[in-house]
Symmetry: C2
Subunit: 224 residues, 2 copies
């Protein structure tokens, strides 16, 4: 799993402002940064007149645009994807992913509390809460940073999230749900896939492997 | 592999117009349609002022927006992803994917030749070329449709692409490159993964499995 930190806080507290500053600072330090933003109100990324817009409006369920520099995907879903699934699918090559929103998930979390917006945090001071970023005095045992302490907050993320991430070599998603594997089980699955790949291919051993499969339903035999 | 058909033709020949009409017609017939468009000139999907734009401009390598109805991804890449990789990763749940561009790949292809734009095809009449859509007389053994024969073209795609697709239960991508597996090898890999999963999980057998893994480099022992 790629290292994740959620930036939470009330609407208007300054989450996006903080994230934008952290992206620049973490990039400056050599990290590849990804972001994942939950938008409760839906969003419009696509615009009238663009081909992608015309495809979507005609009824395409998923539109992908691809160039030599980037690609873009706009995809309809029946239910919101778990952020860990989105991270595994799109953000696996990032060194750190900054999440905006998603406060109901148990990701490590920094809460922004800005006096002009709210006097107290909106999420509990639990084990996921790692630090506050605020212009208010705060009664907590957790680290407290000022709204403009971008470099100190970046160092905190580097120290507490990026460097503490145990390298994991497998991500497993079953029926759309990310599965936590203990390292031993993970290694077993990797070994069996590695063995299966050896049997089929006549090429250099790959480094990155992506597999999607559809398992057939087992049909039970009925007795007469 | 999800069934793919490329719509090719000179710039201005009416590829997007045809694709938009086909999306609507195929959707009306109950198919889930995905599209994949190559844009040689790059594209701007994101717009100033949006959070996603601010994230990208600050230096994020990948930005994901998620809601209950859809998600969007904008991702920087070092080199253009193979369309089959994009299709496997993001379009696997479509019944049919319409490609725009990508004429140098060996996907089944329909070429649009519109007199106002060009007098002759831009791609060869080879085995990948399945039909022409044109307002010109055309010397070919392949089917020729008029520019407005949307329903007949949709039926052709249904008959020649969608229904001829052999159901494949595995997609394998090694170091970013989609690998064609013969059905027998595919079933072997599926069986070994199925067995590995049985050993680790205590839950109902999944139907859809996604695995990403990073294999360690084998280090060769050196002799002194």
């Amino acid at each position: 799993m790629v290292p994740l930190i959620a930036i939470s806080g009330r609407s208007g507290s300054g989450k996006t402002t903080l994230i934008v500053k952290l992206i620049a600072e973490l990039k400056r330090r050599g990290y590849r940064v990804g972001t994942l933003k939950h938008d409760a109100h839906g969003f419009e990324i696509d615009h009238e007149g663009k081909d992608s817009y015309r495809h979507k409006r005609a009824g395409a369920r998923c539109v992908v645009l691809s160039s030599t520099e980037k690609f873009a995907v706009i995809k309809d879903v029946d239910a919101e994807w778990h952020p860990a699934r989105l991270a595994a699918a799109y953000l696996a090559d990032a060194d750190i992913v900054l999440l905006e929103g998603f406060k109901r998930y148990a990701f490590p979390r920094i809460e922004v509390v800005r006096a002009a917006c709210s006097k107290r945090p909106v999420t509990p001071d639990d084990t996921s809460l790692r630090a506050y970023v605020t212009d208010l005095p705060m009664k907590t045992a957790k680290p407290v940073y000022g709204l403009n302490h971008t470099r100190r907050i970046a160092s905190f993320i580097e120290r507490e999230i990026i460097s503490k991430q145990t390298p994991q070599n497998i991500s497993l998603i079953l029926d759309g749900e990310p599965i936590e594997l203990d390292p031993c089980s993970g290694e077993k699955v990797i070994a069996s896939i590695d063995a299966a790949l050896k049997a089929i291919k006549k090429r250099t051993r790959p480094r990155e492997v992506e597999i999607r499969l559809r398992l057939k339903r087992h049909t039970r035999r009925r007795r007469k």
